[in-house]
Structures are given as structure tokens and as C-alpha cells.
Amino acid sequence: MNKVLAISLNTFKESVRDKVLLSLSALGLFLIAISKIVVPISIGQANKIIKDLGLGLVELFSLLIIILIGTRILYQEIERKTIYSIVSKPVKDWEFVFGKSLGLYILIILIQLILFLIFIIFNKFYLGKIDWYLLNALYFFIFEFLFLNAIAVFFSCFTTPITAGILTLLVFFMGQLTHYLKDLVVLLKLPELNAIANFLYFVLPNFSVFNVKASVVYHIPISINSYFLAASYSILYSIILLSLSSMFYSIKEYL
């Protein structure tokens, strides 16, 4: 475990110094800060719109970090040949892949915490009170991006960063629609496809289990099952994806 932590800490330090991260963070802060401009056009719905917008921005910037940095973390090691001095050491493939992934994940959590903190401070500033119920969204974000991080690392094992970024983005958007699969079968009146729809529903990434933004903004109670489902679904799926990534790495060669 010491080796995983060493690799993750190094990845975290490396990513923190990435210029892309600096630009993204500055842009994120700027957009959250100027969210006040929506107040005059919100026709009395400022409270909800600011919250909705803020949560959307935290999600968007976490997504951009994964697309722009996450898909490069493994590729860079090979491109810069720093991997030569890792693979020749007594490090197992899974230790390398999990370590790199964990390092990026720590960074994403940190960025989310900072953005969330600023978001809450602006809430207090614009709306006069702190809405602690918003923290529920943070819980779901943490597991959503654990999953998405694993997807990005998985794709980056066998494609270029650009392709991995596009594929990750596609999975993210398709994953928002997975829960409509069952409805689609009913709507099209094709009961014979029920089994396939059910299979795809459970196998394909389903990001709706993490989407509680409406409940958080409108203070709709979230069931305890939803918390459990989001955590277990994300952890299980991430372990499977990172294990597959490790298998890819075990057969990889470094010319």
C-alpha cells in the first residue's frame, strides 16, 4: 500500500503543477463569482437558480479536469519515459494504475471541496444564509467522479488522451440517459427486449444514481438507499475498471 500511496502522492503533486489545472480553477472561480448576474433575470427564483448553476459548475469543472488531466496521467508517463524507472522497480501493475488513479482522485476531491466552499460562501453572500443541504450534492459528486475517474483511466490505457477524453465524455453523457432504457422498451411496446434493456441498464454506466441536484436544490428528502447505492455502485464499478486497466498494463510493452 506504501507504493500505491507514493505513486498517488507523486501524481497529485504533478497534477497540481499542471498549467491546465490552474487555468481551469481560475475559470471555475470566476464563473461561480459572476453567478450573481443571473439574479436580476431570475424572476424571484434567484435562490434556486444560483444553487442549480453553482452545482452545475462544480460538476462541469470536475468533468473538465478528468477529461483534460485524467486522460493524460498514464499517457504522459510513457511519452516522457518516466515509466521506465517505475516498471523496472518492484511495483506491481495494479499498484501503478491504482496509485495514478488515486492521485488524480485526491486532486479532484480537493478541487471540489474548494469550489464547494467558495460556492457556499457566495450563497451566504448573495442569499443571506448558508444552505447546508447542499453538502448532500458533494457526497454524490465524490462518488460520481470516483467512477468517472476510473473510466478515464481505463480508456487512457489503450488510446490517446484525445480519444480517451472523447470516449469518457460520451460515456458521461450516455450514462445520464441509461435509466431511460427501461422506459424506452415500454414506450416502444417491445416487451421482448425487456431482458436486454435490463441487462444494459445494469451493465452500462448509469450516472443517474448520482444525480440528486434537483432534490438538493428543492430540499426533497434523499433516501438512505440512494446514498448506499451511489457509494457501492461507484466503488464496485471503479474497482472493476481499474483492475481491467491493470491487466492492460501487465501486457503493455515500453519501447
Partner: protein
């Protein structure tokens, strides 16, 4: 009894692309043994398969066929614990400084190395003063040194160095050669590849010459280069009439001093006797054997 640290038998590495029919042999039936405690030099022209061999030993590449046994066939992870590797043109994390880099690599060996030991290693490679300098600000020579330090950080029994002297100035090369000999005298086995034959000749016990993925010649330097005297250089002074010397070999006249290269042992003995008789003085007699460079070129062209 000689212990084999590395035992390679009939190693083959074929590079092939899934979209191309063409197959390229990186290594084509290579045999190699590296014995404990020796400095083994791997020689060969560009593309001969030196780096491929070292990468297979260190686990960066998988062989197509053949066998590579380390310490008699221990598990690869166990073998890597006893191995340190310096790749060709090494590259390290630019955001770290020298000390942080060694701490990081030390942890990959599962060790939390103390500051004193880290400083000792940095001192050994001559980087103690650059301890807090970022790798991004290191020169080529410093990168090579920190690369050597990271290869040493796990206190390995076997050091594998791919072109460690490449790109270094003469002082840097001399220091690194001394360092290789120093760690070897401490009991570490060293396997390294190089283009610089004089350096290999200066520090290796045994050498292997790889040509087109095959081991063409392997052995102790003294055995490989143990050939008959090829010619003798004689430095002469005090001879006024010089013309008669020409029939004994190739002559170079530098005024008071004459250099004569004789190819024949009988002629050499006769000319030495005649020089003395004619009142001349022999300054030096230097029999010349084959150098590693000459041997290498001969092997390449065979």
C-alpha cells in the same frame, strides 16, 4: 563457484505491428550469462539489440521466445527488488527536486530511506549540493547522475546501465566510470551497454558483442584481446645514416628521433641489434596488440 546473476538462453524478440505484415527481429537467438561480481560490457552497433536485451531483463519488454533467468529463476518482482536500472537518455519527474525524487523511488522499493542515507547517495554521485534543485533545472550530466543515484537507491545487487556514459563530457565520463568501479568493488554486479569502446575496455571484466540480435563474441577482455603481437613500434635516437632502416619497416623521421614500425619479429630483433652496433640509442620498444576497437570493428565486419 561462479554464480549466474543473469542467464539468457536463445532469446528472441520480434517487433510486429497488428496492421503490418513486416516483422522485425530485435533479438534473434541471444545467449548471455552475467556472473556475480563482474562488470559486463554489452557492445554492438546501433540497432544491434543491446537496449532491447536490457529492457527484457528489466521487465519493460516481454520476450517473444527464449528464457531469461535472474538469480536462478526467482519471481520478477523479487528480482526487481535486487536490481537497479538506469535507462538510456533517462527522464525523471520535473516537478521534484533531487531529494524528493530519491525518496519517491526509495518508497517504490518499499523502503523509507533516512535523510542520512539519501544524502550519502547524492554525495556519491556528486549531487549533494543540488539537493533542493528541481529536476527541470538539471543539466544532462546531472540527469545522468541522478539516474545513477535512483538506480542505487534500493541498494541493489545488480546494476543495469543503458549507455550510462552517453552525452557526458570527459570529466563526467571519468567520474561515472570511477563510480561504476567503486560500486562494483563494493560487491555489486554491473551490466552495461556502451558505444564508447575505450571506456568499456577500461572498466569491464567481460564483454559481449551483439550484432543483429545475436551474440557474436563473448568472453574475458584479456582472452578476447589475447592475440599475437601485430607490430612493434621502436623509438630510436642518435642515428645519422637513416636510409638502411627502411628495409626493416615503416619509418617516420622527426629529426633526432625516428619512429620505426616493424611487422616482423625477426626483423625487429635484427634491427635492434644493428641500431646498437651503429651507435644509435633505443628509446622505447612497444609491441602492439589488437585493441577492443579493432576487435569490435573486425567482429562487426565479419
Amino acid at each position: 563457484m561462479e554464480i549466474k546473476v543473469i542467464e539468457i538462453k536463445n532469446l528472441v524478440k520480434i517487433y510486429s505491428s497488428p496492421f503490418m505484415r513486416k516483422k522485425t527481429y530485435g533479438i534473434n537467438g541471444l545467449d548471455l550469462d552475467v556472473l556475480q561480481g563482474e562488470i559486463f560490457g554489452l557492445l554492438g552497433p546501433n540497432g544491434a539489440g543491446k537496449t532491447t536485451t536490457l529492457k527484457i531483463i528489466t521487465g519493460l519488454l516481454n520476450p517473444t521466445s527464449g528464457s531469461v533467468k535472474l538469480w536462478g529463476g526467482i519471481d520478477m518482482i523479487q528480482a526487481k527488488k535486487k536490481m537497479g536500472f538506469l535507462p538510456e537518455n533517462p527522464s525523471f519527474y520535473r516537478h521534484l527536486n533531487g531529494l524528493e525524487l530519491l525518496i519517491f523511488y526509495g518508497r517504490l522499493y518499499g523502503k523509507n530511506i533516512g535523510l542520512e542515507d539519501l544524502e550519502k547517495t547524492l554525495d556519491l554521485v556528486g549531487l549533494k549540493k543540488e539537493i533542493t534543485k528541481r529536476i527541470s533545472n538539471y543539466s544532462k550530466g546531472m540527469i545522468q547522475r541522478i539516474g545513477f543515484a535512483q538506480a542505487l537507491i534500493g541498494d541493489p545487487d545488480l546494476l543495469i546501465l543503458d549507455e550510462p556514459l552517453g552525452g557526458l563530457d570527459p570529466i563526467g565520463r571519468k567520474e561515472l566510470k570511477d563510480l561504476i568501479q567503486k560500486v562494483n568493488s563494493g560487491g555489486k554486479t554491473v551490466l552495461f551497454s556502451s558505444h564508447i569502446l575505450s571506456d568499456v575496455e577500461a572498466i569491464c571484466n567481460r564483454v559481449g558483442i551483439i550484432i543483429e540480435g545475436k551474440m557474436k563474441n563473448i568472453g574475458y577482455l584479456r582472452e578476447i584481446l589475447k592475440t599475437d603481437i601485430r607490430y612493434t613500434d621502436i623509438e630510436i635516437a642518435g642515428i645519422k645514416d637513416k636510409e638502411w632502416l627502411k628495409e626493416y619497416g615503416k619509418m617516420r623521421d622527426e629529426g633526432d628521433i625516428i619512429f620505426l614500425r616493424t611487422l616482423d619479429e625477426v626483423k625487429k630483433d635484427r634491427v635492434i641489434k644493428l641500431i646498437t652496433e651503429k651507435g644509435g640509442r633505443i628509446i622505447s620498444v612497444a609491441p602492439q596488440r589488437e585493441s577492443l576497437e579493432e576487435h569490435f570493428l573486425k567482429t562487426v565486419h565479419e
